[in-house]
């Protein structure tokens, strides 16, 4: 996974790899700069222990505006990608923000957040990214030059003012959901069936656990050993660069199997044409087709690409 860049208020460097998470379990290092608490962990949703949260909270009390993340790597991907944290861009409002730093992050126990779904979540919980749907990562922060490290902006509780009901309904609708495709929140799982021609049973994969085609293809390869999808190219980049027609034909004739997916409209598409995020948004299920069956697929896939443009 691409290591996300975390910047926190006091300029601690980010927290890279899983290796960091392995270091020293839950050791209680007191002290304001408890790096472990600010580092990324590859945990399952909700696996953050409450003491970790409390520690984090204490740290936060001393260092307003520290950006804390839990297992939400992808969350920081969105910071990185969008780079936009639109907290108050000017004057009074923003001074309020700075002053409120402490208040916004007042430590709260699980009581408020915890098991109550989206109700009553606290700012810490938000910063940790547990309930991104309750926060708003808003648009351009062009005016942001008030001396607060740009990427250290926190999510704002209850902003934008959209009813939780609407947020939840839209969040679970996979159609056009730009919510962190790589996160591990409960609502962010995207299990799809994978069938392989000739295999006795199907498998299921969670698309959200991968961040690009390469990882995905490797994982599938492991799952269905002996199968190849060929090189799908680097599709982290938006833009229609994608694959040229001739390359596609190469894959099809070259490999024994071809990876296809059924999209929202019910059409079978070749995997690899569209950017990864778009793929995870629209993929309903996967089929590893025998190369010979898939010959007719590629040209149609290209047409659809062109139409979409």
């Amino acid at each position: 996974m691409s290591p996300p860049l975390e910047h926190d208020y006091i300029g601690l460097s980010e927290l890279h790899s899983p290796a960091a998470a392995v270091v020293g379990g839950g050791g209680a290092e007191d002290g304001a700069l408890n790096l472990k608490d600010t580092e990324l962990r590859l945990g399952l949703p909700g696996s953050d222990s409450s003491d970790r949260k409390d520690k984090v909270a204490l740290t936060l009390g001393l260092l307003p505006k520290i950006f804390v993340s839990g297992a939400k790597r992808g969350f920081s991907d969105t910071i990185d990608g969008a780079g936009k944290w639109g907290l108050a861009a000017g004057g009074g409002g923003s001074e309020v923000e700075a002053g409120k730093g402490g208040a916004l992050f007042s430590p709260r126990g699980e009581r408020g957040g915890g098991g109550h779904g989206n109700a009553g979540n606290d700012a810490v919980g938000k910063a940790v990214g547990h309930e991104p749907k309750d926060t708003g990562q808003v648009g351009d922060s062009a005016g942001n030059d008030r001396g607060v490290a740009p990427a250290a902006k926190a999510q704002v509780v209850g902003w934008p003012p959209i009813r939780s009901y609407r947020k939840n309904t839209m969040a679970t609708n996979p159609s056009k959901n730009k919510e962190d495709a790589n996160g591990k929140q409960g609502l962010g799982c995207l299990y799809v069936k994978v069938s392989m021609d000739g295999a006795p049973y199907l498998r299921k994969v969670d698309l959200k656990t991968y961040s690009n085609y390469k990882e995905f293809s490797l994982a599938l390869e492991k799952m269905f050993s002996g199968f190849t999808i060929g090189q799908c190219g680097s599709h982290g980049i938006p833009g229609r660069d994608g694959l040229s027609e001739s390359r596609l034909m190469d894959f099809l004739s070259g490999s024994e199997y071809v990876l296809t997916y059924e999209d929202r409209d019910g059409d079978w598409m070749l995997v690899g044409d569209v950017p990864w995020e778009m793929f995870t948004d629209s993929c309903r299920r996967l089929r590893i087709m025998k190369g010979s069956d898939a010959i007719g697929l590629a040209p149609r896939a290209m047409e659809k690409c062109r139409n979409r443009n």
């Binding site: 969105t78 969008a82 936009k84 639109g86 907290l87 108050a88 861009a89 000017g90 004057g91 009074g92 409002g93 923003s94 309020v96 923000e97 002053g99 409120k100 208040a103 916004l104 007042s106 430590p107 709260r108 126990g109 009581r111 408020g112 109550h116 989206n118 109700a119 009553g120 979540n121 606290d122 991104p132 749907k133 990562q137 808003v138 648009g139 005016g143 704002v156 509780v157 209850g158 902003w159 934008p160 003012p161 959209i162 009813r163 939780s164 009901y165 609407r166 947020k167 309904t169 839209m170 609708n173 159609s175 056009k176 959901n177 730009k178 919510e179 962190d180 929202r264 409209d265 019910g266």
Partner: protein, 575 residues
């Protein structure tokens, strides 16, 4: 008037409809008070803690319709902790004991339990209508008891509630003898639905006019239902996406043309563009269209539909409609009164979204526009000034610029003048929500001009206490004031304390209010409940030790005749 017999006075009061007028009438003299209270049929309680349920029921024993609201509005945005309160049970219990003739109950933002629903179902033989909006705490079991025991139920309307799913059988609990349903809305349910039970229910209710389905209702089911319910006026679809190569799809395409009475369309939970074509035949008679839960429908498809909807009065869409689509709305929907544009993409800077251009177009094309909720990424003073000129009839104007505190991108100025123009021009403005970069100046304008304003929502705005003071000293009709993340402190809070007794409630969060300030307020105004909502674990156990200078995260102040409430959780202190 006092010389007329009571029956005559009562008859005259029949023509006095509004709650406020009836309240006024009852204060004239004892005789009128008596006549009024016995003849009152509808009671609206805007804040469930403003008065005790027994007192209401005892005063109005003849009520047929009761409407109660619980949590503060900002609870919608998760600013109010989960177990803050707003329990419906005491109201149901009191009504069961004192007003057994109750026929309608409408609850908003309250905690309703299955026990409460069962009590409700069993206690009122004439019960006809249950409307729950943004409530929580109940499950489909509770719905099953309503279905079972409310003979003659006409309306079950569940809007945006959090309902726990305990299985799909609740619909089967409507007995075969139940044929009275006029309105059924269960769009907010997340669980499976028993399609067969639903279809049979619809088939045996000839008076059904409004039906709103949940996303779990398949298109096959919808087809069967539509075949039996061609008198529907108001339809909320269930699932709305099927492969266009299937029979189901073809049936869907053929279902809509026979709906001569259909006026309202909503649902479209997962609607795909090709399925949306099914509704084209009815578009020309639609007055209400809600596509705001259909993110898969992009601008162009939206335009295709809107082009046909020239009778539309109310439109809810996502911002994927774009300024271009709004221009089409402006040129087509000349009857438009209410527009809501929601952000599709909350988490990133939207590529398609709307700007001030779209709203400008609608304001100039739709002269009847009076209610607006608009989420956008930017707004300019110039646009707002023009909009104010184009649409002086706004009663509700809620603008949310997604970037808190964002100024006018063209001039880099705050949006004071723009909003100022709105309040100056829209003399009937009752509800206003502000956003963007705003100084105290905008509050000066609001205090000066917004005479009819009843509800004001402020976020990330203002420079000093003066802002809030302008509002409290002006705005004669202000009822609800909710503020978050503004630099208003104790001076503002305490400047005009008498004002709060003329209002329903005040909410302030992430401002500069201190414990001392609240204590002073509570001391001066014994008929207010000054609630401090403190979720800070560290401090709530040590309330006595907290200094008066301690800044408070959230306060909720409301007038009440019931004193401090006895159901407050640990983290709520009423001073």
């Amino acid at each position: 008037m006092t010389y007329f017999p009571e029956e005559v006075v009562e008859h005259i009061f029949d023509f006095v409809g509004s709650h406020r007028d009836r309240n006024t009438v009852s204060t004239v003299c004892k005789a009128w008070y008596q006549v009024e209270r016995l003849s009152r049929r509808t009671v609206f309680v805007g804040n469930c803690y403003a008065i005790g349920p027994e007192r209401v029921m005892a005063r109005f024993p003849g009520i047929k319709s009761l409407s109660v609201k619980g949590k503060p509005h900002f609870a919608d945005f998760n600013l109010v902790p989960y177990d803050w309160g707003g329990f419906a049970l005491p109201w149901i219990v009191a009504a069961a004991r004192l007003c057994p003739g109750l026929e309608e109950l409408r609850l908003k933002r309250m905690v309703v339990t299955d026990d409460g629903l069962e009590l409700l179902a069993r206690s009122f033989p004439n019960f006809k209508s249950l409307v729950l909006i943004s409530c929580e705490g109940f499950s489909t079991d509770g719905l099953a008891t309503i279905a079972t025991y409310c003979r003659g139920l006409r309306e079950l309307d569940l809007q945006e509630n959090e309902v726990e799913d305990h299985g799909c059988q609740w619909l089967s609990f409507f007995p075969d003898s139940c044929t009275s349903l006029v309105s059924l809305n269960f769009g907010c349910l997340k669980g499976e639905v028993n399609g067969g039970a639903l279809e049979r229910l619809v088939a045996r209710c000839p008076n059904l006019r409004s039906l709103k389905l949940s996303p779990a209702v398949s298109v096959e089911s919808l087809n069967k239902i539509l075949a039996r319910a061609s008198h529907l006026v108001d339809l909320g679809t269930g699932s709305f996406a099927v492969d266009h190569r299937t029979d189901v799809y073809h049936m869907l395409m053929n279902s809509f043309p026979k709906f001569k009475s259909l006026r309202n369309l909503s649902g479209f939970w997962d609607a795909s563009p090709c399925c949306l074509r099914a509704v084209y035949p009815v578009c020309t008679s639609l007055t209400v269209l809600n596509l705001s839960y259909a993110p898969a429908i992009q601008g162009d498809d939206l335009i295709k539909i809107i082009c046909l909807c020239f009778k539309l009065q109310k439109l809810w869409v996502l911002d994927s409609i774009g300024d271009k689509g709004l221009a089409v709305v402006a040129s087509t929907c000349k009857e438009l009164q209410e527009l809501r544009v929601f952000p599709c993409d909350i988490y990133g800077a939207g590529t398609t979204s709307v700007t001030e251009e779209g709203l400008l177009a609608v304001s100039s094309g739709c002269p009847k526009l009076n209610s607006l909720l608009y989420f956008c990424y930017q707004m300019t003073n110039a646009a707002l000034i023009t909009i104010a000129k184009n649409c002086p009839h706004f009663t509700r104007f809620r603008l949310c610029i997604l970037d808190p505190g964002k100024p006018d991108p063209v001039t880099d100025q705050p949006l004071d003048e723009g909003f100022g123009a709105i309040v100056r021009s829209c003399k009937n403005l009752r509800r206003l929500s502000l956003s963007g970069r705003l100084t105290d100046q905008v509050f000066l304008y609001i205090g000066m001009y917004a005479e009819r304003l009843e509800m004001l929502s402020i976020a990330f705005a203002g420079d000093s206490d003066k802002g809030m003071i302008y509002v409290l000293n002006g705005c004669k009709n202000l009822r609800k004031l909710e503020i978050r993340d503004c630099p208003f402190g104790d001076i503002a809070l305490l400047k005009n304390v008498a004002k709060y007794e003329t209002m329903r409630s005040l909410w302030m969060s992430s401002c500069d209010i201190t414990l001392g300030g609240c204590k002073a307020l509570a001391a001066k105004m014994p008929r207010l409940n000054v609630e401090i909502i403190n979720e800070n674990e560290e401090t709530y156990e040590f309330e006595e030790n907290l200094s008066d200078l301690h800044k408070l995260e959230k306060i909720y102040v409301y007038r009440t005749v019931a004193g401090p409430r006895n159901d407050a959780p640990d983290f709520v202190w009423t001073l």
